[in-house]
Structure formats: structure tokens, C-alpha cells
Symmetry: C2
Subunit: 119 residues, 2 copies
């Protein structure tokens, strides 16, 4: 239900700056985090994320994204859906066009968890 609203609820084990090295992950935590990484673990989706995240205004229209790949429109739509359902992209339909925006907070949490640089 409210599952995708909670982007990363890591309890107390991984407080603020504790990456993987900060303590053994529980099975539950691992199964909560893995889907996020899985969503990101594809070259096309990685590029989509970076395209959206680095776009002017922080958002990008599907019509622009589709042209950046040698893939069919449904395939791009599929990848965007995966990223959206993982909670990494926000969707915003305006008229005929759909705009996607990166959830930078989710990305930051993930990045910190994987390996926050020294300190």
C-alpha cells in the first residue's frame, strides 16, 4: 500500500553515514534495498536516470528521452515505469506530455548506504 512512499526506511542500524561496512544488513533490509539497486542496474535505466537528473529544471519529457536511445518507445516507457515503481523517478503528466523527475533523496540514501566516502 504505502510501500513506495517510504523511500528508504533503514531503521537504526544504518543511522546516517553507515554504509554496508557499518554493520551486517538484516535479511529484511537487504530485500528492501535490493530492488532499488536492481532498478538502477541496467545501462539504459542508468542513462535515463542521469538524463533526467541532469536536465534543465531537474525534469525531462519522455519525448526527449526516447530520442536518446536506439530503442523502441514502449521499451523506454517500460524502463521509466521500472524506475518509477522503484521510487527513483516521479511522474508528472502535463497535457499530452509526461515529465519525469529524479528523487534525489532516494538516490542520496542509496549512495550513502552503498559506500559513503571516508568519514
Amino acid at each position: 500500500m504505502s510501500k513506495s512512499l517510504v523511500v528508504l526506511d533503514l531503521g537504526s542500524t544504518t543511522a546516517c553515514c553507515a554504509p554496508l561496512s557499518g554493520g551486517a544488513l538484516s535479511a529484511g533490509q537487504a530485500e528492501q534495498i535490493a530492488p532499488l539497486l536492481k532498478a538502477l542496474a541496467d545501462p539504459v535505466r542508468l542513462r535515463l536516470m542521469s538524463l533526467v537528473a541532469s536536465s534543465a529544471g531537474g525534469e525531462a519529457c519522455v519525448c526527449d528521452l526516447t530520442g536518446a536511445f536506439d530503442l523502441s518507445q514502449p521499451t523506454i516507457s517500460h524502463h521509466l515505469k521500472v524506475l518509477h515503481e522503484a521510487g527513483l523517478l516521479e511522474r508528472d503528466k502535463r497535457g499530452v506530455w509526461v515529465y519525469y523527475r529524479a528523487r534525489t533523496q532516494a538516490l542520496a540514501s542509496l549512495g550513502t548506504l552503498i559506500g559513503s566516502p571516508e568519514r
Copy 2:
């Protein structure tokens, strides 16, 4: 050949603190990074990484890791191999036992790339 030696060669586009939002990833960069995320995008491998990384001395024996899961020994061995070949784990055979050690540098690079927290 020397492929797994270079953990993350991200050229100049993603200098030090530039995550996905720091500029569009090239197709080549994306295909270089995705395998690392793919290796990490599994609950068992996530837990393995965290177990190894948070072990005393920074390393863990396979014999200890196997007992932490309800999985067969070959399956654990397989996951460790995946992490090793991705360049996320170092292997060190000492006598009859094999010890794995986390490549914290690789983890840090990945974490920074995905989403370095503000600044």
C-alpha cells in the same frame, strides 16, 4: 585482461562529487557501471557484502558466511564469485580456508556516483 583492476574509471565527466545528476552518462560509462550495480542488486549478495565489510579485520571466511544463509554452499560460492568478478570482493586463500575482503574503494566510488549527499 586488466579489466577488473580498474575499479571505476569515470573519466572527467563525473569528477569527484558528481553523481548521476552531475551530467548525462555516456552509453559506455553506463555499461561499465551497470555490472557493478547488478552484482550488488541481490539480497543475498548485499548481505554477503555487508557481512564481509563489517567483519573483524575487514575480512570473512567462506565457512562463516555459508552458515548465515539458508542456502547451499555452492550457491554462496556462486554469489561470492559474482561479487569477486565484479571487483567488489578480494579473494585470499590461506590454507584450506578462503577469505574475502571488501574493496571499499570500489564501494565508495559507486556510492558517490549514485548519489553523493548534498555538496
